[in-house]
Structure formats: structure tokens, C-alpha cells
């Protein structure tokens, strides 16, 4: 059995309309001044109104300028406003981009000093101020995870922050907030969560029975409910199940790591701005095929649990899981090739650069099989 440490410090609350209690949750943490981070698109939908109205006047400050490709400039700007306001709590309402931005703002607000000093893994020495997250997508798991990424546009790099002190103090899962999420984003974010489940379960050096259990149940809920949530965004049961499952897969991957799919998706996202979940969904079956000879037994366990196969032959059962992954992506209407996502044909130098980015991405450390630059290029080309 692997040695492991399992952290799950986030208090998770689920319920239709649960987000309207955000002000109470903040008060429970002793907050008197809450800095609310969200984006302009969500503001326009009107779904945030009851959450914001739950706060007393002057007890909150609203920051709505998080762009889809959030970066250190946004963080600096938001942190300056939060400091000026005297915030003693941060509330993120949005998708992974908003939540990751809020996490990094909270580092600046709580610890001060230059942001770059905190870049790295286990590199926060102190607890941060209270952070409450309300996800409006069901995918990233950032509302329970111990990591955050933001871009440094000036240097064309993504900064990674990973620490147990980055885990939010509370996550409020309210499926009513997802009713406005368009089908494409529902599908892509859902495939991000599926990727978390599969990669976390496959991280043989770092997974544990705790993370395995979370992965299995999350995957079951996602495969059963993602097609429903995508086909009918108003299906509250399906929205609820995908939202809960995505948080469970988040708890799993933040304790065990992910793998080569995420490494390549991060490289593709950093180079072409491809949406994280979409990149994962396209790369996932190809990376699973690559990993097959190292991990067929684990894929087979998932496949049998989800009733994709009853075969006692691991390779057959694992192949059925890979097919189910491809099938669900197609069923929810996602493109199945990178070339269909606006990514141009790459020359050899560009391919080498992409492979270097992926091979030095921290996610790849947890992949069950080692990969050379040539392997990574091969996967990319097959996915193209």
C-alpha cells in the first residue's frame, strides 16, 4: 500500500439555494468585510443577485473583472482593491478561472509581499484568511482543491501555487447556479471532472483507498448524469449530481495528483488558450491508450464498476472504458480532434516546445507511465 496523506479540510454544503446563505457562512468565519470575486458574464445572468443581497450593506466589496484567461495583473488589481476595502474574507463565485483568481488574491491579502514569492508547491508557511467558494461550473474541483493557476501574460507562463493552506474553508454547492451554464461549457467542464476521476484513480504512486472511493463514485455519477445535464440544462437532479461529483473528483485529484492528460492540456491551454476541459476531453482517450500497458488493471476496475464491461480480461475491460470516454464526449457534442478547436498545424520546433512544456508540467509526475518527448508528440498528433 502507498504511504499517503489525505487532506480534505473544506466544509462542503450542498442544496438548491444553498448559496443564498453565503453571508451567514462568512459570518461563521468571523468575517465583517467580504471581498466577492466573480466575472462580468455571471453578473449579467442575474443569478448572483440573491447571494450578494444576503450581505449587509458595507459588509462586502464586489470585484467583477475576472477575464476568462485570468492573470497576475488581475490578481494584483483585485488584491489592491481588497486591501483598500479592509477585506477579512474572500468569496469566489464562478468557474475555475474565478476561483483560482480568488485563491491567489487571498494569498496576497493574507500574506502580503510580492506574489511571485509564493509560487511553488508547499510554499505557503501560514494559514490564509477565510476563503469561501461557490462554483458555477461542475468540473474543475477548485472549490475543494489545494492548487491554483494563473497566467503571467507578460512572460507567457502559467504560475502554479499548491499548498494545503490553499484549500478553501468552505464550498457551497448550489445547482441552481448552473442552470444558465450553456451546453458546450457543461460538457467540457464535465469532461474535466471525468478526467480528474480517471487520472486520480490511475496515479498508482500516490492514490489511496480514500481517493479511489471518491473517484469511483464521482465517475459513476458523471457518466450517468453529464449527458442529461448537457441535453437539458434545467434537469436539477443531473445538475446536482455533476456538481457534487466534480467536487468529489476534486478532493481525489488534489490528494493524489493527475497525469499526462492534464500535462498536455495545460501545455495546449498555455499555447493556444484552449479551454481546459475541452483539451482534456480530446486528449483523454489518446492518453489512456498510451497508458494502457501500465494501468489496464485500474482502468478495468473502473470499467466493471460502471458496468461498461463484465469481462475478466483487464485489457478488454479497460478498452471498454476508453470507448465509453470517447462515446460520452461525442454524445455531449464536444469536438474529438484538436484541429477542430482552432489549433493550427504545428511545425517540428513548435511540437518540441509543446512536448517540453508538457514534460515539465507538475501533473506529469503522477502519471503511471513515463513518457519521452517523442511519446508526448505522438499522443498530440493522434489527438490532432
Amino acid at each position: 500500500m502507498n504511504p499517503f496523506v489525505f487532506h480534505s479540510p473544506t466544509k462542503v454544503t450542498f442544496g438548491e439555494g444553498a448559496s443564498w446563505t453565503a453571508a451567514e457562512v462568512a459570518k461563521d468565519f468571523g468575517a465583517t468585510k467580504t471581498f466577492i470575486v466573480t466575472d462580468a458574464i455571471l453578473m449579467k445572468t442575474g443569478i448572483l443577485k440573491p447571494i450578494i443581497e444576503s450581505f449587509e450593506e458595507n459588509s462586502y466589496c464586489l470585484f467583477t473583472d475576472v477575464p476568462s484567461d485570468s492573470d497576475v495583473d488581475t490578481v494584483d488589481k483585485a488584491a489592491a482593491i481588497a486591501r483598500e476595502f479592509g477585506a477579512n474574507c474572500v468569496l469566489a463565485i464562478g468557474g475555475g478561472s474565478v476561483i483560482d483568481t480568488a485563491k491567489v488574491v487571498n494569498i496576497c491579502l493574507s500574506l502580503g509581499g510580492p506574489l511571485l514569492d509564493y509560487q511553488g508547491l508547499n510554499n505557503l508557511s501560514d494559514r490564509l484568511g477565510p476563503l469561501i467558494c461557490i462554483p458555477t461550473t461542475a468540473g474543475t474541483g477548485s472549490e475543494v482543491s489545494m492548487v491554483a493557476m494563473v497566467k503571467n501574460h507578460k512572460e507567457g507562463k502559467k504560475l502554479l501555487f499548491g499548498s494545503r493552506f490553499l484549500a478553501p474553508d468552505a464550498a457551497i454547492l448550489d445547482p441552481t447556479l448552473l442552470l444558465s451554464l450553456p451546453p458546450k461549457l457543461t460538457a467540457a467542464t464535465g469532461l474535466d471532472a471525468i478526467t480528474h476521476g480517471i487520472e486520480s484513480f490511475s496515479a498508482v504512486i500516490s492514490s489511496s483507498p480514500f481517493t479511489d472511493a471518491m473517484c469511483m463514485e464521482a465517475l459513476k455519477m458523471l457518466f450517468e448524469n453529464l449527458p442529461r445535464a448537457t441535453a437539458n440544462g434545467a434537469d436539477m437532479e443531473a445538475r446536482s449530481a455533476t456538481l457534487i461529483a466534480s467536487a468529489m473528483a476534486g478532493v481525489a485529484f488534489t490528494n493524489s495528483g493527475v497525469g499526462i492528460v492534464h500535462a498536455l492540456a495545460h501545455a495546449t491551454g498555455a499555447t493556444f488558450g484552449t479551454h481546459h476541459g475541452l483539451a482534456n476531453s480530446i486528449l483523454l482517450p489518446h492518453c489512456m491508450n498510451f497508458n494502457m500497458d501500465s494501468i489496464a488493471n485500474r482502468y478495468a476496475l473502473i470499467s466493471r464498476y460502471l458496468n461498461f464491461s463484465s469481462s475478466t480480461n483487464d485489457n478488454d475491460a479497460a478498452a471498454a472504458l476508453i470507448k465509453a470516454v470517447s462515446d460520452i464526449s461525442a454524445q455531449v457534442g464536444l469536438p474529438t480532434r484538436l484541429r477542430d478547436c482552432g489549433i493550427p498545424v504545428l511545425d517540428k520546433r513548435q511540437l518540441d516546445e509543446l512536448a517540453f512544456l508538457a514534460s515539465t508540467d507538475p501533473a506529469i509526475m503522477f502519471n503511471p507511465k513515463e513518457s519521452s518527448a517523442q511519446d508526448i508528440i505522438g499522443i498530440y498528433e493522434r489527438a490532432y
Partner: protein
């Protein structure tokens, strides 16, 4: 009991190991190409080593305090460093279990790993040469 009894033993071992890496016809040039400046901070006993490849022509190795500003820094107990060089502990698990702190761009630190892997074979002899407890255990 820690595997290194003193800072001197630790620094001497790491200095010789990195000197061997620098002189290696494969590892040395690859590290220079990376232009990386990495600093390793050890505790129990304390120790520090800085490897500066920034000018791309000569790898400079410093033990103890130094004025060079590192790009990536790693913090760990000396015992963890020892286990790492013996190939007994992997970086992913050491990070997940909180045994290693990595400061700075993690991807740049990870890029070094495959390059220095051949040094795993050199470590046991260098360790034995400098370390009193290893000599005593023989």
C-alpha cells in the same frame, strides 16, 4: 539519528556530487543549457548548496550563504535529500506528503530531474566518503 552528523559532512557531500555532475560530459552541458539557478536548503543538519548555470558557460557551485539569487529553491530535511539521491523517495510523493517545499517555477525544477538522474549512481560512494556515520556503519 540524521544520516548526516554535521553541516560540514552534508555540504562536502553535496559539493562533490554537484562537481561530479558538472564534470560529467552528458549532465554538465545539459544543465548549462538550462541556464538554471537552483538552491537547495537543508535542515537537520542545516546546509545549503547553490548551483548557478546562468551564464551558460560554467556551472558555479556554492555551499553555504551566497549572494546569487536563485530561480528555484527546494527545502527539505537532509534525510529526505539522502533518500532522494539513493532513489528511495520520489519527488511526487515527497511533495504530496509535504516533505519537500518547492519555491519558484515548479516546471523549471522538474526539467532538471531527468538530467541529473545518472548522478544517482554516483551518490552512494560520495556519501560514504564524507559521512562519518556511513563510515562507522561499514
Amino acid at each position: 539519528m540524521p544520516v548526516y552528523a554535521t553541516t560540514e559532512e552534508l555540504n562536502a557531500t553535496m559539493y562533490e556530487l554537484w562537481t561530479a555532475i558538472k564534470q560529467d560530459p552528458d549532465m554538465g552541458p545539459k544543465l548549462l543549457q538550462s541556464k538554471m539557478i537552483a538552491q537547495f536548503h537543508y535542515r537537520e543538519p542545516d546546509g545549503r548548496i547553490t548551483v548557478d548555470c546562468s551564464d551558460g558557460t560554467e556551472m558555479k557551485i556554492y555551499t553555504g550563504e551566497c549572494a546569487v539569487k536563485p530561480v528555484v529553491e527546494m527545502f527539505m530535511k537532509s534525510d529526505v535529500a539522502h533518500e532522494f539521491w539513493l532513489g528511495k523517495i520520489g519527488i511526487p510523493v515527497a511533495i504530496l506528503t509535504g516533505k519537500i517545499v518547492s519555491k519558484g517555477p515548479v516546471n523549471q525544477a522538474l526539467a532538471l530531474l531527468p538530467v541529473i538522474k545518472p548522478a544517482f549512481d554516483l551518490y552512494p560512494a560520495i556519501y560514504s566518503k564524507h559521512c562519518s556515520s556511513a563510515v562507522a556503519a561499514k
